[in-house]
């Protein structure tokens, strides 16, 4: 009960405020309050969590829906406590506001393995949460949205429900304790029903009661696979993504930035673009150009037609030279040694046989299905921005900076995201749209990236070199040493997003390697940061995306050296560390009938990872189809604790598997002449 007690006594206040024709309930901090983003003069549209007016109940989400089902699960937390009729629940994305800070995300920055957190470390993690509030990070990323919302949203829902009951008690002349709630209405003992919509205004004047959320045993919605409120719109073409924003008088623009990332533009001739039908303007953006036209196609054609002279890239020009630079990091200063059990050096020196492997993993692009885009309207002292992002506050700040405004002069709307995967944590596309809009005050403009521009101007998952050594004894791993070199995503991104340096050991760089639940007596993991100015970003699962691969490939090498079955070998070392982790391996082994005889022409592999608080094990079966390898089957077992929506969990796990496999099979990004060579989806 510790966390609950802390929240009610000191941290959170549940409150309400009147809005035109209704009431709004929210939760915000009492001791260091953020401005409540609810502002009555803007009507009922702006509110942290719940807006009730005469038209119904709307749940306002501070997290972006990019396919991961977060709107469904977060809405279910509120609906559960408020006894709403699920089929009538309306969900909208809230405004950019600091009240939606993500504490779970900052807590994860600690250099401690998730599975091994002690109560003390949990307290430190809590303290780090305040850091994310200090930055005002309203972020959908790091697999944190559901965990971060679990208590506040249920508290807000419970408080709103009780306030509505008190309002009804006054109206009906009945004791609130005798009332119950069902399908969006308060019900009296004599079965009289008062819909919330009729009570909203009175409820706004009630001092909101603080009550504990319901225990899991009473849940009707949470724990169920719910129909997603966004599904009908997405099946009928009605869901509005960033690219679908249409405003009166809107122009369409395309951009063309230096393909040598971060390099300057030496000069350009707009004439060939201006000669094309539909092209209206070419705008100088310093390191590239924007072309404004009557439609996106004319704008993209125009952008291609501009005759540009580019300056060089600030990094080595070829993939080979880039890997050379990464390898040099091993000679430099060590950044981290987050695991150092036993005496790895001596054990390996004394070992009869040392198993060694080097892994090289490529840069990867995010390739969201919806290319980068944003729509902006600049009116001198204000900027309105429609931008599909995982970080509305960061977008506001970057866009404001780009056009010389304050962040509070920027209004951010968050439409649906056609995929995020970490790419839309960045704000480059909003800043560019803002700069184009500044050149045409009063005229809304949609800045659309071509697929080519998107793929060649990403913030990439970094390329990585890992050097592994190990030894086995008596069927177990006796020693495992991992050294990883790569440029640091965290350092780049933290500087970019907060303006502050990120000193100390970089956990993201070695996550998935140092924090795995294997009992290996001599176990050491070291990180080396390469100095490389290629834009890097958080790519779905971040460090785990490369380190999970590296760790598990090498565990297979050790299993092979030990002459053991790869699942048996893993279990023997995982069991003593974590029963939960061992269980997912056992489950996947059972599902895949691992011990049953294999069909001829097939091969199977297994891997385990503890990533973002969830242990996962997968088995993949490959089939040899006359020389071509086909991924024939896959099995996944995971244990995230409480599955708040099993069907969404299932969809996310499948999605992650396919995303990972397509990266492994065809996602490689390479450089030549300082430019990314892959320009569109593989044909």
């Amino acid at each position: 009960m510790g966390r609950w007690g802390r929240i009610t006594r000191r941290t959170l206040l549940v409150g309400s405020a009147a809005v035109a024709g209704g009431a709004a309930f929210g939760v915000w901090r009492l001791n260091q309050p953020f401005a409540n983003p609810l502002s009555p003069e803007q009507g009922a549209a702006l509110n942290p969590f719940v807006v009730i007016d005469e038209t119904g109940v709307t749940l306002v989400m501070g997290r972006s829906e990019m396919g991961q089902g977060v709107h469904t699960t977060l809405a279910a937390m509120l609906a559960e406590e408020m006894d709403l009729d699920w089929s009538s629940v309306r969900v909208v994305h809230g405004p950019a506001a600091a009240a939606y800070h993500n504490a779970a995300l900052a807590a994860m920055g600690l250099p401690v393995a998730d599975y091994a957190k002690t109560p003390m470390q949990h307290r430190i993690a809590g303290a780090m949460g305040t850091l994310s509030r200090a930055f005002g990070l309203q972020i959908t990323g790091g697999s944190t949205a559901t965990r971060d919302a679990f208590e506040p949203l249920r508290l807000a829902g419970a408080s709103a429900r009780e306030a509505l009951k008190r309002a009804a008690a006054d109206r009906l002349g009945v004791d609130a304790a005798q009332l119950r709630t069902e399908d969006g209405a308060v019900i009296a003992p004599d079965d009289r029903r008062v819909p919330y919509t009729e009570l909203a205004e009175d409820a706004a004047r009630v001092d909101p009661p603080q009550v504990a959320p319901r225990p899991a045993t009473e849940w009707r919605l949470l724990g169920q696979s719910l129909p997603r409120p966004d599904m009908l719109a997405k099946a009928t073409g009605a869901a509005a993504y960033g690219v679908d924003v249409r405003l009166p008088g809107m122009k369409f623009a395309a951009i063309r930035m230096n393909p040598r990332l971060g390099g300057p533009m030496r000069g350009f001739d707009p004439a060939p673009a201006l000669a094309l039908a539909g092209v209206e303007r070419v705008i100088d953006l310093g390191s590239g150009v924007a072309v404004v036209a009557r439609n996106s196609w004319a704008a993209m054609k125009g952008a291609e037609a501009v005759d540009v002279t580019w300056g060089p890239a600030p990094y080595p020009e070829t993939t080979e030279a880039i890997f050379q630079r990464i390898a040099e990091a091993f000679e430099g200063r060590r950044n981290s040694r987050l695991r150092d059990d036993g005496n790895t050096t001596r054990t390996l020196d004394d070992a009869a046989q040392v198993i060694e492997a080097e892994y090289r993993l490529p840069f990867l692009a995010h390739s969201t299905m919806e290319p980068m885009n944003a729509t902006a309207l600049f009116t001198g002292d204000a900027l309105e921005l429609w931008t599909p992002s995982q970080t509305p506050l960061v977008q506001a700040r970057f866009a404001a900076q780009a056009v010389g405004l304050r962040a509070d002069q920027v209004t951010v709307h968050t439409p649906y995201l056609g995929g995020g995967f970490g790419r839309r944590l960045e704000a480059d596309y909003s800043a560019l749209a803002a700069r184009v809009a500044r050149e045409m005050p009063g005229v809304p403009v949609q800045v659309m990236w071509s697929r080519e521009e998107d793929m060649t101007h990403d913030f990439y998952r970094p390329a990585v070199i890992a050097r592994m050594r190990g030894a086995v004894q008596g069927g177990l791993a006796l020693a495992l040493e991992a050294k990883v070199a790569a440029p640091s995503v965290t350092r780049q991104a933290v500087v970019r997003m907060t303006g502050l340096p990120a000193p100390g050991p970089d956990k993201g760089h070695v996550e998935g390697l140092f924090d795995q639940p294997y009992a290996i007596p001599n176990y050491r993991v070291e990180g080396y940061l390469a100095d490389l100015d290629i834009p890097l970003g958080f790519w779905r699962s971040v460090g785990h995306s490369h380190n999970g691969f590296i760790h598990e490939c090498f565990i297979d090498e050790l299993a092979h050296a030990a002459g053991r079955d790869p699942i048996e070998f893993r279990l023997a070392m995982i069991r003593p560390e974590s029963a939960v982790a061992a269980n997912v391996l056992e489950q996947v082994s059972m599902m895949a009938r691992w011990r049953a005889p294999r069909e001829p022409g097939t091969g199977r592999g297994v891997a385990f990872a503890w990533s973002f608080g969830t242990p996962v094990a997968q088995v993949i079966e490959l089939r040899d189809e006359s020389g071509r390898i086909r991924i024939a089957k896959a099995w996944i077992a995971c244990d995230m604790g409480r599955a708040l929506d099993p069907a969404i969990v299932q969809a996310q796990m499948e999605s992650g598997l396919i995303y990972g496999v397509s990266a492994a099979v065809m996602g490689e990004i390479t450089f030549a002449g300082g430019m990314v060579e892959q320009r569109n989806f593989p044909e």
Binding site: R228, Y416, S655
Partner: protein, 153 residues
């Protein structure tokens, strides 16, 4: 230029070489059809011309040979096409961005082959990318829609 989309007549003065995709989205305001690649590599822009599934990013306005149907015209929220209903039942969409193209591609399949097997579905749908990886539910929903169409018939 005149154009029939979802049964409605439209007039546009945009140059004839403009791809149908951009005419629909930017000139006519029918934004259900999506842009993903512009080079026939993703299927997000799939629409029907006279019932045939085509990549609208590859068809110049001047070459449109018949009536165009987009996701907005396939069914409506209150009168869903069997595939759209199956999409909702199977909760197919994640980000949803690729789904209009997936559904239009699948609709052309069912028009031609009312009871496709897994291999035929995989083959027919192979050019439609989904970065969220919804493929298994897409396949299940197509089977389901095929069944419900068969029952209606």
């Amino acid at each position: 230029m005149e154009l029939t989309v979802n049964g409605d007549r439209y007039e546009t003065d945009v140059p004839e070489e403009t791809p149908l995709l951009w005419v629909l989205r930017d000139e006519l305001g029918l934004t259900g059809t999506k842009f993903g690649c512009g080079v026939a590599a993703c299927g997000a822009c799939t629409v029907h011309i006279d019932g045939e599934a085509v990549r609208s990013c590859q068809i110049a306005l001047g070459d449109v040979w018949g009536d165009v149907t987009t996701i907005e015209g396939l069914g409506r929220p209150d009168a869903l096409h069997a595939l759209q209903a199956a999409w909702v039942r199977h909760q197919v969409a994640q980000c949803g961005y690729c789904q209009p193209g997936q559904i239009m591609q699948a609709a052309a399949l069912l028009a031609e082959n009312p009871a496709p097997d897994d291999a035929q579905i995989d083959d027919w749908m192979a050019g439609n990318l989904c970065r969220c990886g919804t493929y298994s539910r897409i396949r299940a929903a197509i089977h389901d829609a095929a069944n419900s169409l068969a029952e209606e018939a």
